[in-house]
């Protein structure tokens, strides 16, 4: 025991220093009574630094102040957020475990993967606060002024290549629908995400990119320009000149949403407290500013609306993916 006492401090002192530092910097509010009286864990379906993660952290820090308990975001990236979703579904519905994921875990992935959860039954949907966007995006100095030029050019030069943020993402599917409806021929290069897809366009390794959000940053800097927007019924108010692919007479893939979910069977009182707090945060100036800075739209849907819309998405992707020949593992 003497030895332990002698050497233990050397080994554990860096740990103590680390935790000491973290607890000094991180805000720890007072514990309350009732719900919530202990830290809430939020599983984020995407990696740290991703747009979804940034909004989840913004949400968590706001809710933390309102509810008076720590709200801890844990990144569980992978499987198109199905890993995080599966984890949430497996927990107790006491409100202390939440997930910030894409509606894709309900509407898209179940048609492609064998999952550990039932997409339509295993969740308490709390709300949606934003949606994922998409656009046909080319380099600024590309030889087309608008989408019509682009279509003409693509007809004359079959086999243009494009990078998407991944196979069967809403951006890939919308581009696919656009391609079919205009009778074009593209080579599809799936990447690991928006950042890699954009890099390929910057390096001129592909002809265009099915932009998934981050492309806007390059548009603002003057490196890219957009030709048409998809995954939306309405034009983007920031870029009112850009047509939607629906206006071009094509079918579109519905946009997936950023949603907050909990395990099924959450008590009504807990649900109410959480959803009210989240609504208050998403309506607040801090969160609105965050969305504005990230250039993603504020698109709030409450539980009832979300439950209705997600069913529509579920059915659309089911038929469409079958038609595309995607097989479930």
């Amino acid at each position: 025991m003497k030895l332990v006492r002698k050497y233990l401090p050397i080994i554990i002192s860096p740990w103590i220093a680390l935790f000491g530092l973290l607890s000094a910097i991180l805000p720890y509010p007072v514990f309350g009574q009732d719900f919530p009286n202990k830290p809430i864990t939020v599983y984020c379906g995407y990696a740290a630094g991703a747009t979804t993660d940034l909004t989840a952290r913004g949400l968590a820090s706001g809710v933390e102040k309102l509810l008076g308990v720590p709200v801890v975001v844990e990144n569980k990236a992978g499987g198109g957020a199905t890993v995080a979703a599966g984890l949430v579904a497996s927990k107790k519905p006491d409100g202390y475990t939440l997930g910030v994921v894409s509606t894709g875990v309900i509407a898209v992935r179940p048609h492609l993967l064998k999952l550990a959860y039932d997409p339509l039954k295993d969740f308490t949907l709390i709300c949606q606060y934003s949606r994922y966007i998409g656009a046909v995006t080319v380099l600024k100095d590309a030889p087309f002024k608008n989408i019509q030029d682009f279509i003409t050019y693509a007809k004359a030069n079959p086999g243009l290549s494009y990078a998407s943020p991944g196979m069967y993402t809403q951006q890939h599917l919308a581009t696919e629908l656009f391609r079919q409806c205009k009778g074009l021929e593209f080579k599809h290069v799936p990447t690991k995400g928006g950042a890699e897809a954009n890099t390929q366009l910057l390096g001129k390794h592909v002809n265009f990119v099915a932009g998934a959000g981050q492309h806007i940053q390059y548009v603002k800097q003057g490196a890219f320009k957009m030709l048409a927007v998809f995954n939306t019924d309405k034009r983007d108010p920031n870029y009112p000149d850009l047509p939607t692919i629906k206006e071009l007479g094509c079918q579109d893939a519905p946009a997936l949403g950023y949603i907050v979910v909990g395990p099924k069977g959450m008590p009504e009182a807990v649900y109410k407290k959480l959803s009210e707090a989240i609504k208050k945060v998403t309506d607040g100036p801090d969160f609105q500013k965050l969305l504005g800075n990230l250039e993603i739209p504020y698109d709030y849907k409450d539980r009832a609306q979300l439950e209705k819309d997600v069913l529509v998405e579920y059915e659309f992707y089911k038929t469409f993916l079958q038609k595309m020949g995607a097989k479930k593992d």
């Binding site: 050397i10 080994i11 860096p14 991180l26 740290a48 747009t51 890993v83 990447t191 390794h205 390059y218």
Partner: protein, 504 residues
């Protein structure tokens, strides 16, 4: 001189008390988490991200950047002292660093790692300042075919890392590639080799793999041996490398700096790849290649310099193009975007105080790290005097916690223990873990680049030969392979191996 004007303007920002304080805080936290295996800069920076909401963006980036390059300093410590790489980029440091510690030269090993990191860090910051804009255009020319060929070159270099049997090294690389394919197929989103374990959809984690193969297996091996302690308890002679050490290391440090800086600019596994490549280069050009793996100080100096300069180089694509070269840079990108600052070609023009301020803070940070690390080395060396019956359970404890906290997953802990047993058997039968880990890291990039290239070319393999950078990489790889097959060189290799075996 515009350069000096920027330089002075940058220091004006970096020397503001708030920025100075946060710079120190960043490098301090970075050193701590670098020393602790399991906790890496990614997790720490993600946890601290909300803290940056309330402080000015320049201050935030100065602190987050400090954590990142600070961790590169600390990362070598556990590699050298207990043969557990704190980060993937420190894997190769275990080869000679731990041997040096066993030979009673832990002090100079830690010392040269700190000095090498300092020299590399400082030179790389100068490079970052001077070369950022022109280098970006080079980096952008790396598309899928170029990456594929670069990876192939990496794999060929890997065979040169083999201490003993090249065939066994290649077999281990094969196992590494198979492990690297576990998880969702990035092209089609289909799961592969996941055995219906949801956690495996994400692939096998690097941390459980590396900690198991290197750390746990080391403990198991040592448990068999009765008396090893005497080696460790011999007095450690000073932390300052002697003149001979310097003479042998300075070239390695400078070459490591250059290689690391260039590889760091490329998106992908910059710091990891650069540490392996620089080690291989040193071994190749050394007059005493037989010393490598037996405590050659160059084998510590080169990779530790390379990973530090790669860490600085990685800022170039982020600050000038807005391309995150790795997850850490992705978090920094996020931190900038939260403050409505878009990293990219316009950043230098739109936010000069941020760009030059952050760069200037890196000079300061590197000095702080040197001052912070040198006195602490004495403390870390004390670790070696801890009796094994206390040290081993502690390492095991730290490994288990470390594997668990990354994803809060018990599957990762089980995987680590499994790889620990596998690693133990591998060592018993003289299969090296390092080629396995490197192949595992490169495999997903290799596969992705190959498939993307073939989509672009419509299935033709010619695409790898018509593009100059790609063809160049492949030619160098072919030349290396060919040279290793030449009988003369082969004989030399065998001599080296024989000598290495005598030492065992």
């Amino acid at each position: 001189m515009e350069f000096f004007a920027n330089f002075i303007a940058g220091f004006n920002v970096a020397l503001q008390p708030l920025n100075f304080m946060f710079c120190f805080l960043g490098v301090f936290i970075g050193t701590l988490i670098g020393v602790l295996p399991g906790i890496g800069p990614v997790g720490t920076m993600a946890i601290l991200l909300p803290v940056t909401y309330g402080i000015p963006p320049t201050t935030a980036i100065i602190m987050l950047a400090g954590i990142y390059y600070g961790a590169q300093y600390g990362g070598s410590t556990t590699s050298i002292l207990v043969n557990i790489p704190g980060e993937a980029a420190s894997v190769v440091t275990t080869l000679d660093g731990y041997q040096m510690a066993k030979n009673g030269r832990a002090g100079p090993a830690l010392g040269i790692a700190a000095f090498g990191s300092f020299i590399a860090g400082t030179i790389a910051v100068i490079g970052l300042q001077l070369l950022a804009p022109p280098l970006v255009t080079v980096a952008l020319r790396f598309g899928p075919p170029e990456y594929f060929s670069l990876m192939i070159l990496g794999f060929v270099i890997l065979t040169y890392l083999a201490q003993k049997s090249m065939a066994k090294a290649l077999m281990m690389a094969g196992v590494g590639i198979i492990l690297g394919t576990v998880g969702l197929d990035t092209m089609t989103g289909m799961p592969r080799f996941t055995f219906n374990i949801p956690e495996l959809l994400d692939g096998v984690g690097l941390a459980p793999l590396a900690m198991g193969l290197f750390g746990i297996s080391e403990i198991l091996l040592n448990v068999e041996k009765k008396i090893k302690q005497e080696l460790i308890t011999t007095k450690v002679r000073g932390i300052f490398p002697n003149l001979e050490d310097w003479r042998r290391s300075i070239g390695a440090i400078l070459r490591g700096t250059g290689l690391g800086f260039f590889l760091g600019i490329l998106p992908g596994g910059g710091a990891v790849l650069s540490s392996f490549v620089s080690y291989a280069v040193e071994k190749r050009i050394s007059k005493h290649p037989e010393d490598f793996g037996r405590g050659a100080i160059e084998g510590v100096a080169a990779p530790e310099s390379a990973n530090n300069s790669a860490a600085q180089g990685a800022f170039i694509p982020l600050l000038t193009l807005g391309i995150p070269a790795n997850v850490v840079m992705a978090i920094l990108l996020g931190a900038l975007m939260i403050h409505n600052i878009t990293p990219g070609p316009m950043l230098v023009k739109d936010h000069p105080q941020l760009f030059w301020g952050v760069i200037s803070s890196m000079y300061m940070g590197n000095i702080m790290l040197l001052v912070l690390n040198l006195p602490l080395i004495g403390l870390w060396v004390q670790l070696l005097r801890v009796p094994y019956n206390i040290l081993f359970p502690m390492i095991l404890f730290v490994c288990v916690i470390g594997a668990y906290v990354i994803n809060n997953s018990t599957v990762d802990v089980s995987l680590m223990l499994l790889f620990g047993v596998v690693g133990y058997l591998m060592r018993k039968f003289e299969y090296e873990p390092a080629p396995l880990v490197l192949a595992y890291v490169l495999a997903p990039m290799l596969e992705n680049a190959l498939r993307q290239s073939l989509i672009l070319s419509g299935g033709s393999f010619g695409i790898f030969m018509v593009r100059p950078i790609s063809a160049g990489c492949l030619l160098v790889a072919a030349a290396l392979l060919f040279s290793s097959l030449l009988p003369m060189i082969r004989r030399r290799r065998e001599e080296i191996v024989a000598e290495a075996e005598e030492d065992e």
